[in-house]
């Protein structure tokens, strides 16, 4: 019996010891630092030395030469769907072939890109290496100290040279700089434009060369174009960010001024703000399909590319469906700047301050904004940011709305870049959608929206 107890005791001890050792082992593995970068670099260099060059020209060779030292590094980027990002993802495949630096493109609903990036930077976890820098998010990312200053990388002769002056100046300023310091490179040049179906115009007796010059004309033309199953306009009226963008475009067009006055107070309770809401919530739904009150960007773009709707205000990044070879409206579309003004959209590309692979991440950013890549992928919808390419006849021939986009960027008004901008957008989306769906009267929605934004800005110290 004593032997039996002894055996039992010893077996339990063994079990506990084994468990403790296992736990200790697991803890040690979990807590161990990642393999030393020096070791990785040595291995990579050894592998790189043995590798045959895959570059086909000097530009590629430059990236190959610099990038090989980080071969095997993995860069993660959060992106908001396909479109422009999909083209970049494709371009990055060649970057990987050249440098051996892997990239992982994490596809999210666009609204969640901000949440995820902000939480990553706020928690300093370094999950993402390269960041999509929507300039409306700039302030909050800066507040987390999560963006890497890029001046020393731009000036570093070890990297391929980059000419910052080649970018559209406003684009570089808005997408890349904060208080004079460089945090991002201009990646996606963007401003809403106004595509309209010239064949539909002709069919109802409108001049196809004369797009509407005011929002009231949009409404008038739309009424003429609306008949049977055909609608004049494709409104992005759902409870999502594009409803805010459309309202802002109308407001900018009517008022010719930004969201806030000199005292920092919102100006939506002005005559122009109220009229913009009337157009957005009453006039545009009249000439749009009934379901447009729940539409997002994809449904609106699709409705125009299928010829169901004749006009829209839209971001160029999603207009490939209008010029694709199998498009039902191929050759029918005209492109104009929106009446009066337009919001400047767009994104920079930045490096996380908490990335473990900052140099490799910078090299990828550099590669994706390079003239060679922008030119190479322009036919697939790459949103260019270089001045020279907007004026390049070859590029214009590939992309018929490119010139319009350049014109729109020249007259575009930017969103506020203060830290609470995303919250302001959320308030706007809620009330604009409520007005469109008749949950609130247009005037009521505008005044409530103005009041809530004012309260928020007071709380954050932007209004005295």
């Amino acid at each position: 019996m004593s032997n039996m107890n002894e055996r039992r005791r010893s077996s339990r001890r063994e079990f506990l010891r084994a468990s403790a050792l296992t736990m200790a082992g697991l803890t040690a593995v979990a807590c161990a630092p990642a393999a030393a970068p020096a070791d990785e670099a040595t291995g990579s260099q050894a592998a790189g030395a043995a590798r045959v060059s895959v570059a086909t020209n000097d530009v590629e060779a430059a990236y190959e030469e610099v990038g090989r030292q980080w071969e095997g590094a993995l860069l993660r980027l959060p992106i908001g769907g396909r479109g422009h990002w999909g083209v970049n993802q494709k371009a990055a495949e060649r970057f990987t072939e050249l440098t051996g630096i892997e990239t992982e493109w994490e596809d999210n609903p666009y609204d969640q890109v901000y949440d995820k990036t902000f939480l990553d930077l706020g928690s300093q976890s370094g999950t993402y290496d390269v960041l999509d820098l929507n300039f409306a998010w700039f302030g909050q990312f800066i507040a987390t100290d999560g963006l890497l200053r890029l001046e020393e990388y731009v000036d570093n002769p070890a990297f391929p040279p980059i000419d910052l002056e080649a970018f559209v100046p406003a684009v570089l300023e808005v997408y890349g700089k904060w208080e004079g310091n460089l945090y991002g490179l201009p990646w996606l040049g963007d401003a809403m434009i106004f595509p309209y179906n010239q064949a539909h115009y002709e069919a109802v007796g409108l001049d196809p060369q004369a797009p509407p010059a005011t929002w009231n004309e949009v409404h008038e033309f739309g009424k003429t174009l609306t008949h049977d199953d055909q609608y004049g306009f494709a409104l992005m009226g759902g409870r999502q960010i594009q409803a805010m963008c459309t309202y802002a475009a109308i407001f900018f067009g009517l008022a010719g001024k930004g969201f806030y006055n000199d005292a920092g107070e919102p100006q939506f309770d002005s005559d122009e703000g109220l009229e913009a809401m009337e157009i957005m919530a009453v006039k545009l739904p009249e000439i749009s399909p009934p379901a447009a009150i729940s539409w997002d960007i994809v449904q609106a773009a699709e409705a125009v590319s299928q010829g169901t709707c004749s006009m829209e205000i839209q971001w160029p990044g999603i207009l490939q469906g209008l010029i694709a070879e199998d498009s039902p409206v191929l050759g029918q579309m005209g492109f104009a700047t929106p009446p009066g003004g337009t919001p400047l959209g767009g994104h920079g590309i930045a490096v996380s301050n908490y990335s473990q692979n900052k140099e490799a991440a910078y090299l990828l950013c550099h590669y994706l904004v390079s003239p060679e890549i922008q030119r190479q992928y322009v036919s697939e919808g790459y949103a260019i940011t270089l001045t020279a390419l907007f004026e390049d006849p070859e590029v214009q021939a590939i992309n018929p709305y490119l010139k319009t986009m350049g014109d729109a960027m020249a007259i575009g008004l930017s969103w506020p870049r203060t830290e609470e901008t995303n919250e302001v957008f959320d308030i706007m989306v809620k009330h604009i959608n409520a007005a469109i769906t008749r949950e609130e009267a247009p005037d009521e929605a505008t005044l409530l929206m103005n009041e809530e934004i004012l309260e928020l800005r007071k709380e954050r110290g932007y209004v005295g």
């Binding site: 469109i436 769906t437 110290g461």
Partner: protein, 316 residues
């Protein structure tokens, strides 16, 4: 005496001083530690942290200096003009209408499946499908089904000569469209639970009642229903609590729109937490939701206790 010996020989007496060799702590503390750590780390600490945050003005973006604000967040949430009340009303409608229909459909189907008929097994399997489909997939599928242009419902209504509404865009229909999806998704749970209760019912009582001349309705009302009532209460408790917390389905179908028509309380919390990053305010709202859920649980459990007490009294 012999039994004492067996006890002494067969079972090692408990030794209070038995200690872990590595840590020198009493063994029972060491054994319970992992569970304690998990519960503390995943439940107690986050809850305590959230309660703490709810008394602060914490905003993740960092521009507003942190300070303790006492009950200010709770007062802001509970005042009459607070947006939360809109969400509370939406949540109550969503939960009450949804759970009511789930119960009616669940009980009806359970009664049907409790009978013998050809194809019963296949029907049971078929009914489980909504439970097995991931919420993300079912949400997306229903979103397409509700689509004005390509959706099956709009197509059917047009085929019948009608004019389909904008299911997810019209404030008059959006909430009920979401409720219908939730009913489709959760009724099978009700069916399974109630069917199990029905099958546990002794057939003798029913047969005895039938011999005494009771009608089908009388058997159901006076025998079956009282028998399965405790299970009904528990099933309603589970489903109500689940419905109060629903987030994924609404996020996928309407994102709380049109306007705030489908913004249930969890969407409200999400919006203020992840759009405005107002963690103090959001924590206070979460604590209020927790308290409301607990009160509903207490209500259901009390119903259960009262019911059991009444049964015991009757038996005596």
């Amino acid at each position: 005496m012999a039994s004492v010996e067996v006890s002494q020989q067969g079972r090692r007496p408990y030794r209070a001083e038995q200690r872990n060799r590595f840590l020198g702590l009493p063994l029972h503390y060491v054994l319970i530690a992992p569970t304690f750590l998990i519960v503390f780390g995943l439940l107690v600490y986050p809850l305590g942290y959230a309660i703490g945050l709810s008394f602060s003005n914490k905003i993740l973006t960092g521009s507003v200096p942190f300070k303790w604000v006492g009950l200010e967040n709770y007062i802001d949430l509970l005042v009459a003009k607070s947006e939360m009340w809109t969400s509370v009303w939406v949540t109550l409608r969503f939960a009450l209408v949804g759970v009511l229909f789930e119960f009616i459909i669940g009980l009806g189907l359970a009664m049907v499946l409790n009978r013998e008929f050809i194809g019963r097994t296949w029907l049971r399997v078929g009914l489980l499908i909504p439970l097995m489909v991931p919420p993300l997939a079912s949400g997306l599928v229903w979103r397409i089904m509700y689509d004005d242009e390509f959706g099956v419902f709009s197509h059917l209504i047009r085929a019948l000569g009608g004019d389909p509404p904008i299911f997810l865009g019209d404030p008059n229909y959006a909430l009920y469209a979401v409720v219908a999806t939730e009913v489709w998704r959760s009724s099978p749970f009700m069916v399974l639970v109630l069917l199990a209760a029905l099958q546990a019912q002794p057939q003798e009582t029913i047969e005895a009642a039938e011999v005494d001349g009771a009608s089908g309705w009388q058997v159901f009302r006076l025998i079956t229903l009282p028998f399965i009532m405790p299970v009904i209460i528990v099933a309603l408790l589970f489903r109500t609590v689940d419905a109060l917390r629903t987030f994924d389905l609404i996020f996928l179908l309407t994102a709380g729109g049109p306007g705030t028509t489908t913004e249930v309380i969890s969407m409200f919390i999400y919006r203020w937490g992840f759009r405005h990053f107002k963690l103090g305010f959001t924590s206070a709202a979460s604590i209020l939701l927790l308290i409301a859920t607990l009160l509903i649980c207490v209500f259901y459990l009390r119903m259960l206790v009262v019911r059991q007490a009444a049964v015991q009294l009757t038996e005596r």
